[in-house]
């Protein structure tokens, strides 16, 4: 599978370096290695979701209890979670850090991903959720650390878009 194990490892290690101890996730192709890494890590609480919006609640509970968490999902999962993001994470000022694989964007071959790809950034903007894209290995750790810092200083959701150039190995 051309999903990059090395890039996934860099992302995972950066999350660990930021003190993340809870990951809630709903799989998609680009996330398989990241989810396996969380599964194999005895110090990580991995919560497999039935629907992504649940992850907003879990991140809220974890944060209120003092644990650092992230959500791992694809952009359609982000779209699925919007009311939770607005009515829970934004209303209650929760530093929700979302790692969102940006499917349906430049280079996408799957036609079914393309509508979601088009609306992801406009929806993030409409919700006033700051985001950066992770698309090269050398900035991954730094951008994850900055995202975590901003989420906790603003007490608001922050997104990191996982780009094809980082996650996919054959272009």
């Amino acid at each position: 599978m051309p999903v990059s194990v090395d890039a996934s490892r860099i992302i995972y290690d950066a999350l660990k370096a930021c003190g993340v101890s809870v990951v809630s996730a709903l799989p998609e192709t680009w996330l398989v290695h990241l989810i396996r890494m969380a599964e194999d890590d005895p110090d990580m609480t991995l919560v497999r979701l039935a629907k992504e919006e649940e992850g907003v609640g879990i991140a809220t509970g974890a944060h209120l209890a003092g644990a650092r968490s992230v959500m791992l999902m694809q952009n359609h999962g982000f779209l699925q979670s919007i009311n939770g993001i607005v009515s829970c994470a934004q209303l209650y000022r929760i530093p929700l850090v979302m790692l969102i694989s940006h499917r349906g964007w430049f280079g996408e071959r799957d036609p079914w991903q393309t509508e979601g790809g088009l609306v992801t950034i406009p929806v993030l903007d409409a919700l006033r959720i700051p985001y950066e894209t992770l698309d090269a290995r050398d900035h991954v750790a730094h951008r994850i650390a900055k995202a975590m810092t901003l989420a906790h200083s603003t007490n608001r959701p922050v997104a990191l878009l996982l780009g094809r150039d980082l996650m996919w190995e054959d272009g």
Partner: protein, 191 residues
Amino acid sequence: MKRLEAIAAIHGRLQDCIVVTIMGAVAAELQSLGHRPNFFYLQHAMGLASSVGLGIALSKPAARVVVLDGDGSVLMNLGGLTTLARYRPRNLTHVVFDNESLLSVGGFPTATATGSDIAGMAAAAGIPRTATVRTLDDFTAAFDAALAADDLTTLVAKVEAVGPAGFVTDLGLLENRFQFARHLRGLPETP
């Protein structure tokens, strides 16, 4: 049974628990009986109270977490029952006040009014302890048994579709949130 009476009957036990409620009527009723820093009222985010409870229960295994949910809210996050069952936090008691109604928005009937069985769905999702109760005595006995059992329980209490006249209280949402987080973080980490 009235939900207010049911909450009043367990209010004493809730002092030692971490409590997460849904919005509207349930939140206002619990507050009317006496607010505590260990009570968090999740206003508006329909369906997510049980997920917030799961996040707390997993992060604070030494705390006893009680979620006060509603039928309409559970129906909006049925998948969450499978997630609860999957992680089976033994320190979580999930109480569902089933008034067969979306009471807080005018009382339209939910599907439990036509037979949908939340305890049955919870059991089928894999929640190890489930029950439906209809009287105050059965409710308090089942609630105490759930706390004593030290296992994940979904307890459905069939209640009348009545509630307070208004839902806004003088406790700000963020005041509640920060007070609750401070309380929770001060609790011991391990059992």
